[in-house]
């Protein structure tokens, strides 16, 4: 595929894409799902370890992509693994992004239905969301990364705001005792933090579009570090304010945490509503990114234009988002996806990098620059 020069993106845009892709639905329930696994207030440690894992895998992704300048994962997977296995891997990747898009759309609908529109049918919420996402993706990569750039700033501002406002209710005693049951529960929790870190894989697909692909590593490090920082903040503040026991009882711990912010003077109230409206943007970026990558994947397998497949994907994503029949199943689906993701987007690229190095595929020189 010839890359249009208009589709080139800057390093800053790549960084923002990583951040915007990572911050999404996961953060809303991260403290609860991780807390359930860990069982002690040491959730934040799992979050750090999960972040380290994401950084490591991001490193692998960038190394892999830099060996094949100007190509996306869907193209060089053939070069590394051969036509047949490459296609299977590509299909798995596409399936995962469809799953991610469906999940994000569903979580958004559940969130909006929980707090804003109580009786609006889920289908209506999801379909209208799909349309808006499709509209953005149809414009190609450049509008998409511009939206990433813009919204990632909004997300970072909102997160900073709620962390600062939450600080006054923070009680360090709620985080103690530290490591009361040793390090094992913390490690067990890493897996469930991973769902929140999904999305950094976007570098497998956009490194090829970067103006300066040699700076992809920098983009990855900064792009992943920003969410790590805010996730640690959220984990610490939410458990520090709500306590672990309370967090485990809440459907949307982060939203409830925002609800419990009690600003002295009370001239601003109901922060929760602002937070949820802002979070629609966060989920929107992740969703659009996933939709874009999935349609790009199909486009590159069949060697057609990306935008042709958006309309084809929309009903598929809609069906995926309607698979879980209740809210509990939605969260189950999230956990399952986190596990699948670890395999497909974690282990497979690692193996591919090893194979590429052994078989001397791709330009080694470029990678060493």
């Amino acid at each position: 595929m010839i890359i249009n020069s208009n589709d080139k993106i800057s390093t800053k845009q790549a960084t923002a894409s990583v951040t915007a892709m990572i911050i999404g639905a996961g953060i809303l329930t991260m403290t609860r799902s991780t807390g359930k696994e860990v069982g002690t207030p040491d959730i934040w440690m799992s979050v750090i370890l999960g972040g380290m894992l994401a950084l490591t895998l991001g490193f692998v992704h960038v190394k892999l992509s830099q060996r094949f300048p100007g190509e996306t994962f869907f193209q060089y997977s053939h070069a590394i693994c051969g036509k047949f296995i490459g296609t299977i891997i590509n299909l798995a990747m596409i399936a995962l992004f469809i799953l991610l898009a469906g999940f994000e759309a569903r979580v958004l609908a559940e969130l909006v239905r929980s707090f804003l529109l109580y009786s609006t049918p889920l289908e209506v919420l999801i379909i209208s969301f799909l349309w808006v996402g499709a509209y953005l993706v149809a414009g190609g990569l450049n509008p998409l990364v511009r939206i990433f750039e813009l919204f990632s700033i909004v997300m970072v501002l909102i997160l900073t705001g709620i962390l600062i406002l939450g600080l006054q209710h923070f009680d360090i005693n709620n985080l103690r005792p530290v490591l009361s049951e040793g390090i094992m529960p913390v490690i067990k929790g890493v897996k469930s933090t991973f769902l929140s870190y999904l999305g950094y894989e976007i570098l497998l697909f956009i490194t090829g579009f970067m103006k300066e692909p040699q700076k992809a590593m920098k983009a990855m490090f900064i792009g992943v570090s920003i969410p790590i920082f805010y996730y640690i903040g959220i984990a610490v503040i939410v458990t520090g304010v709500l306590t672990l026991e309370e967090t485990l009882t809440l459907t949307w711990p982060t939203a409830t945490f925002v609800n419990s912010i009690d600003y002295p003077g009370g001239f601003i109230e109901n922060f929760q509503i602002f937070f949820i409206i802002a979070w629609v943007l966060a989920i929107y970026t992740t969703f659009s990114g996933a939709l874009y990558i999935a349609s790009m994947g199909i486009g590159q397998i069949i060697k057609k234009k990306t935008s042709d497949f958006i309309c084809f994907l929309m009903p598929v994503i809609f069906l995926v988002s309607m698979i879980p029949d209740n809210q509990a199943r939605v969260f189950e689906m999230g956990d399952l996806m986190g596990n699948l993701w670890l395999v497909v987007a974690g282990i497979i690229p690692l193996i591919m990098l090893v194979v590429a190095v052994i078989r001397k595929k791709g330009s080694v020189k470029k990678a060493n620059e």
Partner: protein, 410 residues
């Protein structure tokens, strides 16, 4: 051209059919609720039971039902609505002067029943987003598990976690019937009053609904502010003890006992220490400026005891013998010994009350055990209040007396 017309028609149809009509709610149809009060409903024959003497207003067979776990209460909920016309200041000349609020009552056997019954008596759809105050009557707290009772309220997505929760010593609904004072609505009045904690120590720190949910999820005993109205004057002093596990009312803390509780919670700032000087026989009083309480668990022979070390600062305000002299060390030391004794006395009174009478760890001694001996805590946490009531607590107060900023003697 034809295509454009079709697209336009399609867009029109979509925009008309997807406007979110499901959740349409006209602002004129909304009733904004700022206060919520829960009582046990009484019928004609037992109407006088507002008094404190008649504590067991629930009849014995009802009690049996409750012990079997059937929630078959008969509750009363009072909702305070904002009456928008008199809030906005647009006074239409000919209408009768109206309070800025309207109270609506509903009755029911469960909380959901209460919330639903509102639709039968109120023409406006209730919105709870701006709820400021929840008042629970002592009687209700005494007879029902508050965790079970408030669970439905906690699940309600509109009810903010920031509203203040208080316990009233009389009927809760009467709190909302008072003539409001400085604030426009009684519910606002209670909310603002409860939040004043910096300048007084005879009430515990205010509890928001979120805090309440947190304490209950953590199975922790706590003290909650007591609101009363005497002669039409709203007053918040003292505290009600809610015991963990059953989450029922376990006793009142009077002002002195609450002050002691605040000493233990490092919240005694604004408290008063009053003693009669042994030397002169006159009253000396101090204002507590700073309080820092450290609780350390001591484990000996499988028994948990505690060491309470308080470091405080106080300002000498009154000395009726007029012997005040901040330069004289002897004088300061002398007053200090009295004050230390008084402070220790206050704390010990409170400890006696919460350990022996209420058997509830409202001062959160449990947390120190949890932090220091997490292994041990796991075994005893379900039975902690019992364990706590047996603990021996050693109280030490270190007081640093200061003179007022203006005067150095007399």
């Amino acid at each position: 051209m034809n295509k454009k017309i079709i697209l336009f028609a399609l867009a029109l149809i979509i925009s008309v059919s997807c406007t979110g009509c499901w959740d349409r709610l006209e602002i004129e149809e909304l009733g904004i609720i700022v206060g919520m009060a829960f009582d046990i409903a009484h019928h004609e024959d037992d109407k006088q039971s507002g008094d404190n003497d008649q504590e067991n207003a629930v009849s014995s067979d009802e009690m049996e039902d409750m012990e079997e776990g059937n929630v078959k209460g008969n509750f009363k909920m009072t909702l305070q609505y904002v009456y928008p016309k008199s809030m906005g200041g647009e006074s239409s000349g000919n209408s009768i002067p109206q309070e800025p609020y309207i109270n609506i009552q509903s009755e029911g056997t469960t909380v959901l029943h209460l919330i639903n019954d509102v639709y039968n008596v109120s023409s406006r759809v209730p919105r709870y987003d701006h709820l400021k105050t929840i008042v629970i009557s002592e009687e209700l707290a005494r007879s029902y598990n508050l965790y079970k009772f408030l669970n439905a309220v906690m699940k309600h997505p509109e009810i903010p976690y920031t509203c203040v929760v208080v316990i009233s010593d009389g009927p809760a609904s009467s709190i909302f019937e008072l003539e409001p004072d400085l604030e426009a609505l009684p519910a606002f009045e209670v909310n603002s009053l409860a939040r004043v904690v910096k300048y007084t120590a005879n009430r515990p720190r205010y509890i928001t609904f979120g805090t309440l949910a947190r304490y209950m999820a953590n199975n922790r005993s706590f003290a909650i502010q007591r609101v009363s109205c005497e002669n039409g004057i709203l007053k918040i002093t003292g505290a009600a003890v809610i015991k963990a596990g059953e989450f029922k009312f376990a006793g009142w803390l009077n002002e002195r006992e609450t002050e002691g509780l605040n000493w233990l919670m490092s919240d005694a700032e604004g408290g008063i220490l009053e003693v009669i000087s042994e030397k002169t026989g006159e009253i000396v009083s101090c204002w507590v400026a700073k309080d820092d309480c450290k609780i350390t668990p001591v484990i000996k022979d499988n028994k948990i005891d505690f060491k309470v070390e308080v470091e405080a600062e106080a300002i000498i305000v009154e000395d009726w013998a007029m012997s005040f002299n901040a330069i004289k060390q002897n004088y300061i030391k002398e007053i200090e010994t009295y004050m230390v004794k008084e402070a220790e006395d206050i704390i010990k009174t409170t400890l006696n009350k919460i350990q022996k009478e209420c058997k509830a760890d409202v001062a959160n001694f449990g947390r120190t055990v949890k932090n220091k001996y997490p292994e041990l805590w796991k075994n005893i946490k379900d039975n902690w209040d019992e364990e706590f009531s047996k603990a021996e607590i050693d109280v030490k107060v270190k007081l640093n007396l200061r003179a007022s900023a203006r005067k150095v003697s007399k």
